[in-house]
């Protein structure tokens, strides 16, 4: 009899666990290529014009990254410039924020609450023991049962915590209602493709899913689901209904395997989502695996007209005069001692290098590509101007085809610990561990160094000079 009771209880618990499920992303009620959380739906206004187009990228790195990017935001809020003769806060001119992992908390909070971030974020996130709170939840007996479910894992529990305690159950639908910039792209990594997965309706179209019904917390959780610490987060990939329209660039790009490899690969990635029978689910991991500084989307916007937002397209339309890219990179460089010993490093040390080094190398490449892209655009504009000058001098009756082009100025501002002159300070910041729980004093120092590094940047000074 007693044994029967035990069996019944186990069955009840398993049934209960079986009912626990992560919140499923909703299917689109109908396809509309113009609706939803897209860059074009967050309009410019009297405060934010396209003339000065500011992009911020926030890297991964737990609370360290969140605090550094928060410091940068705070400094931008205190910086007043003049655009068309009117004083404006630089933070109000920010058009896009692209974020990864820890940086996604700051980006998402600012997108939802605007200036309230400066009163609330320290208490609600930066100086809170998030890691401790998440660990405590593992000791709740109800969570033991919930975690038995194959469709509910620790990352879903973390997303729930962020949803209740940081982002107040807000969804991307709430961000659309705000209808104002910045357009925040929270980046994760598609585990099967190893490719960047951004939380925008442009991307969710490929899943035939409605992003407006997805909680912001779930996107941030996906963006910060570091492998090993968390399981991947799952999204449904629905079969496309007959009203679905593939982005116009995909079909021609599939002819480009020989001459435009990046574009060709992106087109293959888009097509992979259309196989909802073979891929009914998409599993997402930390955005840092595909781009730990959140810069890749901006690089595409500088190289291509294909995405949901394109700087090239805006330049073609003469909409922008100044393009400012601020990369906030909280990359560390922990001191290592294994080269002092003859015996090889332990497995954990080897695994940490295997996990971190490719990300750091990729970040370095991204920074290099940004410089090369901007240099190339500047060079092309200069070449064109030189031709025009020569023609004006020797054949004044002749004109180059294509008319006059508006000059676009670029500003590439890098906020990273590399910029700290004092070696002891630099090493202090570079050795701050990646965690969602840092001492209050460390958080203050990170916020202050973010402000200082921005102010001391030569490119930032050039921007301020040009806007006064």
């Amino acid at each position: 009899m007693k044994r029967n009771k035990q069996v019944i209880w186990v069955v009840i618990l398993l049934l209960f666990a079986g009912c626990v499920h992560y919140p499923v992303n909703p299917k689109l009620s109908h396809f509309d290529a113009k609706a939803g959380y897209r860059f074009d739906n967050l309009s410019t206004n009297a405060v934010n014009s396209d003339k000065v187009f500011i992009i911020l990228t926030f890297s991964g790195g737990g609370t360290r990254a969140a605090a550094l990017s928060y410091g940068v935001l705070e400094q931008l809020s205190k910086t007043v410039v003049h655009i068309d003769g009117s004083p404006r806060r630089l933070i109000d001119e920010v058009d896009v924020i692209s974020s990864v992992s820890g940086g996604s908390f700051t980006a998402a909070y600012y997108a939802l609450y605007g200036d309230r971030i400066f009163n609330e974020f320290e208490g609600r996130f930066l100086k809170k023991d998030i890691q401790g709170d998440l660990k405590k939840r593992l000791f709740y007996p109800t969570n033991w049962i919930r975690l038995l479910s194959p469709t509910f894992s620790r990352i879903d529990m973390a997303a729930e915590y962020y949803d209740c305690n940081i982002f107040d159950h807000h969804t991307f639908g709430d961000l659309i209602k705000k209808g104002r910039r910045p357009f925040v792209t929270i980046n994760a990594t598609d585990m099967s493709l190893g490719a960047r997965f951004e939380f925008s309706q442009d991307q969710f179209d490929w899943l035939y899913s409605d992003l407006s019904g997805v909680s912001v917390a779930r996107a941030v959780a996906a963006s910060s689901a570091f492998p090993g610490l968390f399981c991947p987060i799952t999204f449904r990939n629905y079969s496309h209904e007959s009203d679905y329209r593939e982005p116009g660039w995909v079909k021609p790009a599939l002819h480009d395997s020989a001459n435009s490899l990046v574009r060709y690969r992106k087109a293959l990635d888009v097509r992979s989502y259309s196989d909802s029978t073979g891929r009914p689910y998409v599993h997402l991991l930390d955005g840092g695996l595909s781009d730990n500084i959140g810069l890749r989307g901006t690089l595409r916007a500088l190289e291509s007209t294909d995405g949901g937002w394109s700087l090239i397209r805006m330049m073609n339309m003469n909409k922008v005069q100044k393009i400012v890219v601020v990369t906030v990179n909280a990359q560390t460089e922990a001191s290592v001692s294994w080269d002092k010993h003859e015996s090889p490093p332990w497995l954990m040390s080897v695994l940490s290098v295997v996990a971190i080094s490719p990300m750091e190398n990729y970040s370095f490449d991204s920074m290099l590509m940004l410089k090369q892209d901007i240099d190339r655009l500047n060079q092309e504009a200069k070449t064109r101007k030189d031709y025009e000058e020569i023609i004006r001098k020797y054949c004044p009756a002749v004109k180059l085809p294509g008319g006059d082009q508006q000059e676009v100025k670029f500003y590439r501002i890098n906020v990273s610990f590399e910029g700290i002159e004092n070696e002891a300070d630099r090493m202090y910041f570079k050795n701050i561990r990646t965690s969602f729980s840092l001492p209050s004093e460390t958080v203050d120092r990170l916020c202050n160094v973010g402000k200082k590094l921005l102010c001391e940047s030569a490119e930032f000074k050039r921007l301020l000079h040009d806007l006064h």
């Binding site: 982005p247 116009g248 660039w249 079909k251 021609p252 790009a253 002819h255 480009d256 001459n259 435009s260 574009r263 060709y264 190289e303 291509s304 007209t305 294909d306 090239i312 397209r313 330049m315 073609n316 339309m317 190339r376 655009l377 092309e380 504009a381 070449t383 064109r384 031709y387 180059l400 085809p401 294509g402 008319g403 082009q405």
Partner: protein, 70 residues
Amino acid sequence: MENVIVTFPESRMVLMDGVESGRTNKMMRVEEGTHIFKLADPKDYKPRQITRLIQNTTTAKPEEVCFEKK
């Protein structure tokens, strides 16, 4: 980065791969690769669309994509 000029007797919005990407008779920067060009309404132009591989252009010698008035 490649350069294209879509020519047409009037100033008109250019749709490249289905998206507004520039204006006719003005220089457009585009990514290397195959693109489909159309013009915005009214549909008083021919051909209906032009598919072209854009590569090896310069700012001094852009690819010309020509539409005519119907």
